[in-house]
């Protein structure tokens, strides 16, 4: 915009100035600036969020440095803060959630987009979207009073009998633990996977299906070997979004994971997640270092989810641009 010389430049500048005055008089400039500020508030909030998380966790960052992420001891009394058990718990429960939710969600999405008649598909999608709106504390309530007793009485003994040779399914069975956390997370993220995957599958051109069917493929072969591979990147993005949700999910996990900061191979064992420890200990944190260590955990969680969501959004944007041609 800066100083273009010559008569054409000057004419353009005059025209711009004229338009500016006109805009000012009609109120357009004001409306433009006001809405711009509101839109920019999103950037402001994001910057302020990162800034606040940083300045309020300086003492543990200075004191522990990188050791904060690799330390296994979380002992507020002696002032020793290592976040590894929480990171481990968060990652294990999220991985378990995806292991259950991805087949279930993609399967349901295939049914809704390929097989179900439109009326049934729409009705079921409506219900699934409602499921996504159920508050997480409600899932926690059901997890605590239904899932945990069920796992303790039937689920975990069954797993121990059948798959007990794996270190994953050994040890005492409390009901609460990482298995319960992973399962409740799976139930919570399935709706996200279904509604996004369904949309992506439905956007696959009909010609793709017709070509496969015309070559003599069964409907399933056309779906599994043509439609799903065509939509794979979008489905992957939906899985990433679900992962982002699972990592940051707080209440439901807090209520069923057992809240014990240790690392054990068994899924039956109680664990702890980053979000859960913040929820449990924040109001009880005594001393500056303790509180700041919890805020630094928030920073770690923020970074994790930003990376995962950022990747998912990039994938969605790039596929949306590719698809906008037709």
């Amino acid at each position: 915009m800066a100083g273009i010389p010559g008569p054409t430049g000057r004419a353009a500048a005059t025209r711009r100035a004229h338009a500016f005055v006109q805009g000012l008089r009609s109120g357009d400039t004001f409306a433009h600036v006001a809405t711009l500020l509101c839109a920019a508030s999103i950037l402001l909030v994001t910057v302020a969020l990162v800034h606040q998380l940083f300045i309020n966790s300086t003492s543990p960052i200075h004191k522990f440095g990188f050791r904060f992420l690799t330390g296994r001891t979380w002992d507020p009394v002696s002032g020793e803060f290592g976040a590894l058990p929480f990171i481990y718990g968060t990652l294990v429960t999220s991985a378990l959630a995806l292991l259950v939710a991805v087949p279930l969600g993609v399967g349901a999405a295939i049914f809704l987009s390929e097989l179900a008649p439109p009326r049934i598909s729409n009705a079921m999608t409506f219900v699934i979207e409602l499921l996504a709106a159920v508050p997480s504390v409600i899932y926690g309530l059901l997890g605590m009073f239904i899932l945990v007793p069920f796992l303790r009485q039937y689920g975990e003994p069954f797993l121990k009998r059948t798959l007990g040779f794996l270190p994953l399914f050994q040890g005492p069975m409390y009901g609460v633990g990482m298995l319960a956390g992973g399962l409740i997370l799976a139930i919570m993220v399935v709706p996200f996977i279904i509604s996004l995957s369904r949309e992506i599958l439905m956007a696959v051109p009909v010609e793709q299906r017709e070509a496969a069917l015309g070559l003599g493929a069964t409907k399933w072969e056309s779906t599994w070997q043509v439609v799903v591979p065509y939509a794979r990147i979008g489905i992957l993005a939906s899985v990433f979004l679900a992962l982002g949700r699972a990592l940051g999910e707080t209440m439901a996990v807090t209520m069923v994971i057992g809240n014990d900061p240790r690392i054990s191979a068994s899924l039956f064992a109680p664990g702890y997640s980053i979000a859960a420890v913040i929820a449990n200990e924040f109001t009880e944190a005594t001393g500056n270092l303790y509180l700041q260590a919890l805020i630094e955990l928030g920073l770690v969680l923020f970074a994790l989810t930003i990376v995962i969501n950022g990747l998912a959004r990039i994938v969605i944007i790039s596929t949306a641009q590719k698809g906008s041609g037709h």
Partner: protein, 280 residues
């Protein structure tokens, strides 16, 4: 060859039945959740529950009137803060934006939307609770309000984008300025979509617990004004559920039922409102 075809047909039917089961199982979860809450919470739900204050442990009766009012106040504050900013931001993205800046805003809004709600709680804690040195309705409302902005921006923008360009051109051709065209033609044409987005947004934050734990905190009594800790339904569900008392568990189920009803009714109403639009 014949057997191979039978096998392929079998796989076809088998796999599609499995996908059907996946869908049924997921849909079944909602009915299970609803049914269980109505069954368990319904028996503890009474008029007193909606109009009385909580009683100490061991004392029968009592309700959560303060939590219901608290949730309403938090929502009001969050809406007063989040909706105008989100709405105007959405207007900017749809009507005024160029290319790069709106892209950055949109991307950031989606990222902000993915930030765990408990981190938003920490944010509100550091900017309101730390300086003021006590928990307050204000801090909780701010945490929820900030969470509302990105969704309000995106849903408003999407609603405005469905308005045909011709309407804008018509307004401008009649000599109206741009903002008048937006205010009197474009926004009214998209009002259903905008309202729906905002209701869904409010329903979402109404059920949030994590950002309130250390901002609005909780309270066994009424919380006058905006400057004191307040009870809210989601936090009550949580604290009552993890308590060791049988009475409180019952109250938690009842509070959960009230909360779920609130959220689901808002969702169904908003979505039916949209389908009413697409009918013509």
């Amino acid at each position: 060859m014949l057997w191979r075809n039978y096998w392929r047909k079998f796989v076809n039917y088998f796999m599609f039945s499995m996908t059907g089961l996946c869908a049924l199982a997921t849909v079944g979860v909602l009915f299970f959740v609803l049914g269980y809450l109505v069954w368990h919470g319904g028996s503890s739900l009474s008029w007193a529950f909606l109009t009385h204050l909580p009683t100490p442990v061991g004392e029968a009766g009592g309700g959560m009137a303060n939590a219901i009012v608290g949730t309403a106040k938090l929502l009001l504050l969050a809406s007063a803060f989040g909706i105008p900013i989100g709405f105007l931001g959405g207007v900017y993205l749809a009507e005024f934006g160029g290319r790069l800046f709106p892209f950055v805003i949109r991307y950031t809004a989606d990222l902000l939307n993915g930030v765990p709600s408990i981190v938003m709680g920490i944010f509100a804690y550091t900017i309101v609770v730390l300086p003021m040195k006590h928990f307050s309705t204000l801090a909780g409302g701010l945490a929820l309000g900030v969470m509302m902005i990105p969704i309000a921006v995106r849903s408003t923008e999407e609603a405005l984008r469905t308005v045909p360009l011709m309407l804008r051109e018509g307004g401008l051709a009649l000599g109206a300025s741009k903002w008048r065209t937006i205010a009197t033609v474009v926004v009214p044409a998209a009002r259903k979509g905008i309202v729906t987005g905002i209701i869904l947004d409010m329903a979402r934050v109404a059920g949030e617990t994590a950002p309130l734990l250390f901002t609005a905190f909780s309270n066994q009594f009424w919380s006058p004004g905006w400057n004191q800790p307040t009870a809210s339904l989601p936090v009550m569900v949580y604290t009552y559920a993890i308590s060791p008392y049988e009475d409180w568990h019952k109250q938690a189920w009842a509070a959960g039922l009230v909360l779920l009803t609130l959220v689901l009714v808002a969702n169904v109403a908003a979505r039916l409102f949209v389908s009413g639009r697409s009918a013509h």
